[in-house]
């Protein structure tokens, strides 16, 4: 349903205008240059033209082809700037949504502990996205809305738009962020204001529900992008039956057998690269040393313990 010319947001029109202007000029010039070249090749070919002219200057021409392109590029600049300037002027009434990018999942935080994996926004309302990164650079890209802004750790980047078309639109991560960069996808879903209100009201509050707090943390830190809960292998070993599991790990000094006890699990989270479970890749999992507090760590381990007991 999404096409090349979907203008999903208020910003799209001006962007496309700039594009079409530049494209038209480029097209004309490229065709013109090509035709001229072919004409020269035919008309002035060595067979036909035995007496090459020997001119090498023409001041009028040279001035013309400096000034005209100069004017053209200035107009191009103007269009580009005119399409861009509104992107930086966020309307005061814009609804604020916090976006967290982490390897390799998006999370949209609507405040009050309500988070969602999809970006649901009300039709024709101004929306501002505040972009935060939990690890490395990412970039939030919604082609249909013509918006993109990098999500950089330590930076408070933002973007805004007003959706003017209902439907589902792709969200990509467009800054390389490691192994599963191309899998860091989500959807922007534009719905009626009323539907939006309803959706937001129904949105579960994460962290406070019946869920184990450790599980909430695991979800909040996006561990599940790499570790499955059901035993299947994604990028890291599955969390299913983790506690007490015996496995072989590779360290700098060699291989050894371990049992996944409390201490080991904590170490795996804080220094994931010290011991690598055999058959998995080093360097994928980043240390959570500064990101997960000791308290939370206990909760996570506690959760792993409970999953064993319930079996």
């Amino acid at each position: 349903m999404e096409t090349l010319f979907n203008q999903g947001s208020n910003l799209a029109g001006a962007v496309d205008r700039a594009f079409i202007f530049i494209f038209a000029i480029s097209f004309l010039f490229t065709i013109g240059i090509t035709v001229l070249m072919i004409y020269i090749l035919i008309h002035f070919s060595r067979k036909k033209n035995k007496h090459p002219m020997q001119f090498s200057h023409n001041t009028k021409l040279e001035v013309a082809w400096t000034i005209i392109p100069l004017i053209i590029v200035l107009v191009m600049f103007y269009y580009g700037w005119a399409g861009f300037a509104p992107m930086r002027k966020v309307p005061a009434d814009a609804m604020q949504i916090k976006v967290i990018g982490r390897m390799w999942a998006w999370e949209f935080d609507y405040g009050n502990g309500k988070t969602s994996k999809e970006l649901v926004v009300p039709f024709n309302k101004n929306v501002k996205l505040n972009l935060y990164s939990a690890d490395v650079n990412h970039s939030l890209f919604i082609p249909a809305f013509r918006v993109k802004e990098d999500v950089i750790p330590g930076y408070n980047n933002y973007l805004w738009f007003r959706p003017i078309m209902k439907g589902n639109f792709d969200i990509y991560c467009s800054e390389y962020c490691g192994l599963n960069h191309s899998g860091m996808l989500a959807k922007a879903i534009v719905v009626d204001s009323l539907d939006f209100k309803k959706w937001l009201a129904d949105l579960k509050v994460t962290g406070n529900g019946p869920e184990h707090p450790g599980l909430a943390l695991i979800k909040a830190n996006a561990c599940t992008t790499c570790h499955s809960m059901d035993g299947s292998r994604i990028i890291g070993p599955s969390f299913k039956g983790l506690f007490g599991r015996k496995s072989t790990v590779v360290t700098d000094t060699g291989e050894k057998e371990i049992v996944a006890n409390e201490e080991y699990i904590k170490r795996s989270i804080l220094e994931p690269n010290a011991e690598i479970v055999k058959g998995y890749m080093k360097g994928l999992m980043q240390s959570y040393k500064d990101k997960i507090s000791a308290e939370d760590l206990d909760k996570i381990v506690d959760y792993f313990k409970t999953t064993v007991e319930t079996k």
Binding site: I25, F44, N49, S56, W65, V73, G80, W81, K148, G283
Partner: protein, 537 residues
């Protein structure tokens, strides 16, 4: 060592033989050939990686390799192509072989340093390769090494960074050598404005090489320090600034794209007058446009960072300057066309490649403008549109200029001639394959297909498949072209000293040139492109 006993006159190729005589030679022509061979090998290796990536992308999901392999592959493809192939590229090959001859000198200013540069280069190149195979997995940061990912990824990033550092050093030394050569070694009577335009373009390039490269050197050192000593220049957890890294990286890497293209422009500027038997149109504007590109090119780096959260003011400032830097390029294109206009145009293979250069460079340049415009950049940044832009302008521009140059100077370098039909047919495959390969990427880029994507939405598949088919056609063309040149460098018909009836100095000496280039130092009395007796048969 067996000296050839035939009557073949002594030249730089045969006056001494044996591998060591090459590896220890300080003759600029031999060093140029060393570069030519090493660059060709690395180019082929990285090109095969490009082909493999295309095969992987023929269908969504995994086809022939894992995501990890793919990510490592575009990284090493980019590193080899940028740092090992195109940045040294034209300057180190044709600059070395032709610069001294074209300005009437016996050699460059510092011949030993020149050889040393090649050794530095080749060590850096092998270090780059080693980063692929050393234990641990290959670097997967992209050629841009963006932090914090490159500071954390536990791959062989440090080795790759060191390789880039070492290669930068080689580039600096070459640039230094050329500047001094041009200042100090011109033949008597060769004033600045009697110098041919290829040396002029090398002069502009060399300044970028020595003034921009150190910045990336220190930046890479800082990343290495960050990884090994935990100094947090760029790590936000320690108060560092990831965007500062991007500034530093592009302060070098944008000027570096002009290191790639300026010599390419210089090469085609030599070809048009020769094959039209007509003086270059607008010599002085071409000189100044080269210098202007070098200078203004220094101040536009931010156009790679329009979405990174830099300030509003610097976004439009950089966009504005980006548009200005297009003007000197425009001037050159028009000058080339006017050089041919009214001439007696002979469509031999070198000219064929040179006019394809104009065509592809124009497309690459205009898409560069699309990217330089703020509004459209937001949409197109880091999509396949960018990938298409730079392949058009690097491969289509610099690459085709390289092919033009090798077909132009081949008879001078080897004293033999390649097969024209063979060359023309290869050109056909190259040109068709090239456009099939990269044009679809513009389209899917506009639709939003991000770059560095291992997997993709099936809606992009048509474009990806056409692109892959193009890669195979291009592959045939490349094999054809390379085999034509390799085969005829030994077996081709003996070439005359001046097969194209050129007027610059390199055509006035025997082919291949003697070891010392000139028997007696030439004295220059007039402008470089004067055709007294245009040759039109």
């Amino acid at each position: 060592m067996t000296h050839s006993t035939t009557a073949e006159p002594l030249n730089y190729l045969n006056h001494k033989t044996g591998l060591w005589s090459w590896l220890s030679s300080t003759d600029h022509k031999r060093i140029g050939l060393l570069y030519l061979y090493s660059i060709t090998i690395f180019f082929c290796a990285a090109a095969v990686l490009g082909l493999l990536m295309r095969i992987e992308k023929i269908a969504p999901g995994q086809t022939i390799m894992s995501a990890q392999t793919y990510n490592g592959m575009f990284t090493i493809h980019g590193i080899i192509m940028v740092f090992i192939v195109v940045i040294p590229g034209l300057a180190a090959v044709f600059g070395n072989i032709m610069l001294p001859i074209m300005i009437g000198a016996k050699d460059v200013a510092f011949p030993k340093l020149n050889l040393f540069s090649w050794y530095v280069y080749i060590s850096g190149a092998f270090l780059g390769l080693y980063s692929q195979f050393a234990n641990g997995h290959s670097p997967d940061t992209g050629w841009t090494f963006y932090v914090p990912y490159s500071a954390e990824a536990s791959s062989n990033v440090v080795i790759a960074l060191t390789a880039a550092f070492v290669l930068g050093f080689a580039s600096i030394l070459t640039g230094l050598n050329f500047i001094v050569t041009i200042h100090r070694m011109r033949a008597p009577g060769m004033t600045w404005f009697r110098m041919p335009l290829f040396p002029w373009s090398l002069y502009a390039t060399a300044w970028i090489q020595i003034l921009a490269t150190p910045i990336i050197g220190i930046t890479l050192l800082m990343v290495i320090a960050e990884r090994t000593f935990h100094i947090g220049f760029f790590d936000p957890a320690l108060g560092g600034d990831p965007v500062l890294y991007q500034h530093l990286f592009w302060i070098y890497s944008h000027p570096a794209v002009y290191v790639m293209i300026l010599p390419a422009m210089g090469v085609v500027t030599e070809i048009f007058p020769t094959f039209s038997q007509k003086p270059v149109f607008g010599y002085v504007p071409i000189v100044f446009s080269s210098m202007a590109i070098a200078l203004v090119g220094y101040f536009v780096w931010g156009h790679h960072m329009f979405t990174s959260g830099i300030s509003y003011e610097s976004r439009w400032f950089f966009s504005f300057l980006t548009f200005l830097v297009a003007i000197p390029s425009a001037i050159k294109v028009f000058n080339w066309l006017s050089t041919m206009y009214g001439g007696s145009v002979d469509l031999k293979p070198p000219l064929l490649f040179a006019i394809s250069f104009i065509f592809l460079f124009t497309i690459g340049g205009f898409t560069g403008l699309t990217l330089g415009s703020l509004a459209t950049n937001i949409q197109l940044h880091n999509t396949d549109f960018v990938v298409a832009h730079f392949h058009y302008i690097i491969f289509g521009g610099m690459g085709f200029a390289f092919f033009a140059g090798i077909h132009y100077w081949f008879p001078k370098i080897y004293g033999r001639m390649y097969n024209f039909r063979w060359a023309n047919i290869s050109w056909g495959f190259l040109f068709a394959g090239f456009n099939l390969l990269y044009f679809p990427l513009f389209v899917i880029g506009i639709q939003g297909m991000p770059r560095r994507y291992f997997d993709y939405d099936p809606k992009f598949q048509t474009g990806e498949v056409i692109s892959t088919i193009g890669a195979f056609i291009l592959f045939i063309g490349l094999i054809g072209m390379i085999s034509n040149l390799v085969y005829h460098s030994k077996r081709g018909a003996i070439a005359p000293a001046n097969p194209w009836h050129g007027v610059t100095l390199e055509w006035q000496i025997p082919s291949p040139p003697p070891h010392e280039n000139f028997d007696e130092v030439p004295v220059i009395t007039r402008e470089p492109y004067v055709f007294d007796h245009p040759h039109t048969n």
